[in-house]
Symmetry: C2
Subunit: 260 residues, 2 copies
C-alpha cells in the first residue's frame, strides 16, 4: 500500500515520560524523505502547538507547530463555530490565547468547557460546573482521557472528572478531540487526502485505533506508552502491532515508499 499522509499521536508514541521513544526522530525523518504529509494529533490540552513542537524538537524530533492539532485547538474552533455563546472554562491558563474572543460567563453560561487542569481540579470548581449543567448548560470537552503516565507515575486525566459530571447532570459531553471522527476528518480534509490514503499511528486502542477503524483508515498500534499493556484479548484488534514508532521506517521501505 502507498499512503500520502500520516496522522501520528504524540504522548506514548513519539515521547513517553519525558523521553523520546528510541527511533522516533529517525522514523519521522524517513516519512519526510518518503514525501508523506505529517500531522500530529494529540489530546494534550494544556500546551500550545508551538510549545509542543519545541518540546519535540528538544528531543531531536523534527516537527513544526503548524503540523500539530490538539484537542484544545479543535475545541476552540468548534466553540467559535457556534457563534454567540458564553462559556465557563475549566481549561489550563496556558491555552487561554486559543479561546480569545469567546465570551466568558460565571453566572449562567451556555456552555461548560472542561480540559485537563490537573492539580487545579477541586470540589469547588467541579461543583460550580455541575451547577451550570444542572441549570441547562451544554458540556463541551477536548477529550475524555481517563489517565496518563508522567515521570511520577499514573495521573488522573480530565475524563475521570467529566464522567462524574455527565452522570450527575444526565448530559453527554461533546468531544472535540480524539476519538471524535470529526477531529480526524477535518485534518484529512485540510490536507486534501482520503481515508484510503492515510494511516493513523498511536498507542491508545480507544482514541487512536477505534477511531481509525471507524473511519476505515489504515493504522498501527505502537506497543509503547499505553500500548505497552496491550494484550491479545483487547478490543478492538489493531490492523498492525508495532514494537514502537521506530517500525515506521521499515514499514515505509517495505511498502514501496522511497525513504533514501
Amino acid at each position: 500500500m502507498k499512503i500520502k499522509a500520516l496522522l501520528l499521536d504524540i504522548d506514548g508514541t513519539m515521547v513517553f515520560k519525558g523521553h523520546a521513544i528510541p527511533g522516533a526522530a529517525e522514523a519521522i525523518e524517513a516519512a519526510r524523505m518518503a514525501g508523506l504529509q505529517l500531522r500530529f494529533l494529540t489530546n494534550i490540552t494544556g500546551q500550545l502547538p508551538s510549545t509542543i513542537a519545541e518540546d519535540l524538537q528538544r528531543h531531536g524530533i523534527n516537527v513544526r507547530a503548524e503540523e500539530i492539532h490538539t484537542a484544545s485547538t479543535s475545541c476552540a474552533r468548534y466553540l467559535k463555530s457556534l457563534g454567540d455563546v458564553s462559556c465557563f472554562f475549566l481549561m489550563p491558563e496556558s491555552v487561554n490565547s486559543m479561546f480569545e474572543g469567546i465570551a466568558r460567563d460565571h453566572v449562567s453560561p451556555d456552555v461548560v468547557v472542561i480540559g485537563d487542569i490537573g492539580e487545579s481540579f477541586d470540589y469547588a470548581c467541579l461543583n460550580q460546573a455541575f451547577g451550570y449543567l444542572h441549570k441547562g448548560a451544554r458540556l463541551v470537552v477536548p477529550h475524555k482521557n481517563l489517565f496518563w503516565f508522567d515521570p511520577r507515575g499514573v495521573r488522573l486525566d480530565c475524563g475521570a472528572f467529566i464522567l462524574g459530571l455527565e452522570a450527575a447532570s444526565g448530559k453527554q459531553a461533546l468531544v472535540t478531540g480524539k476519538p471524535s471522527p470529526v477531529f480526524f476528518t477535518s485534518v484529512m480534509d485540510s490536507l486534501g487526502v482520503k481515508p484510503s490514503q492515510t494511516m493513523i499511528i498511536g498507542d491508545d486502542l480507544l482514541t487512536d485505533i477505534a477511531a481509525a477503524q471507524h473511519l476505515e483508515v489504515a493504522h498501527a498500534l505502537v506497543l509503547t506508552g499505553k500500548g505497552a499493556s496491550y494484550t491479545e484479548s483487547d478490543v478492538p484488534r489493531p490492523e498492525r502491532l508495532w514494537p514502537s514508532i521506530a517500525e515506521l521506517s521499515r514499514f515505509l521501505a517495505q511498502s514501496g515508499h522511497n525513504t533514501d
Copy 2:
C-alpha cells in the same frame, strides 16, 4: 396489607434542605402507635447516627440513634468482617470513630474507602486513591450517590468522583449502603422480619425503589426531595406514589393498622 417494619429514608423523605417535611413527625408517631418497628436507612456518610438523631429530634421527629443505619456504619461493619486489611480512607473525619481498629496505610493499602468528603475532594487525594487502585487495591464505598440538595443548591456527591476512579482503574466499587441489597436484608434480619412484612419508603428511584423491587419489598416513593422531579416515564415504576411522608398516617389507617 399488614406490615411489621418500616425502612425509611431520611434526606428528602423526613427532612429536606434543612427543614422537616410537613407531617413527618406525625407520620412517625402514627407508625409507632401502630406498633411498627422503625429503622432509618440513609446514605449520609459524614455524620454519626447520634448526630443524625439529634438533628431529627430538633425538627420534632422522634428518632433514636439505635434506629439509624448509615452507609458508613455498614461500611465499617463490612471492613471489620474482612479481618486483617489495611485501608486508605477518604472519609469525613466526623465518622473516624466508626473505623477505629482498622489499619491505615498510605503506602500500599489493600482497600481504598471513599465517602462524601465534600469540599475536601481535590486532585491530590483522588490521584493518590487512583495510584493505589492502579497498583491493585480494592475499592469499597458507602454509596455512589451522584448529587444531593442542600440549602445552597445542588451539590456533587462522592459517587461523581467514584465513577471516574472506577473507569480509570477498570475496577468496580463494592457499595455497602443503598441500593446494596445486603444493607437492607441485614437490617431486616436484625429486626427478625421478612421482606413480605416490611415496607421501604424513600425519595430516590435508584437507591430506595429499585432496591425494594429487587428484594420484593412493599414500597412508596415520596414526591419530596429527589422525588419531586419524578415523571411518569421514569423507571422503575414505584408501587405507590405518595405526595410526602405525611401520607403514611392515612396509609396505616386504611390498611388496618391501629394508629390511635
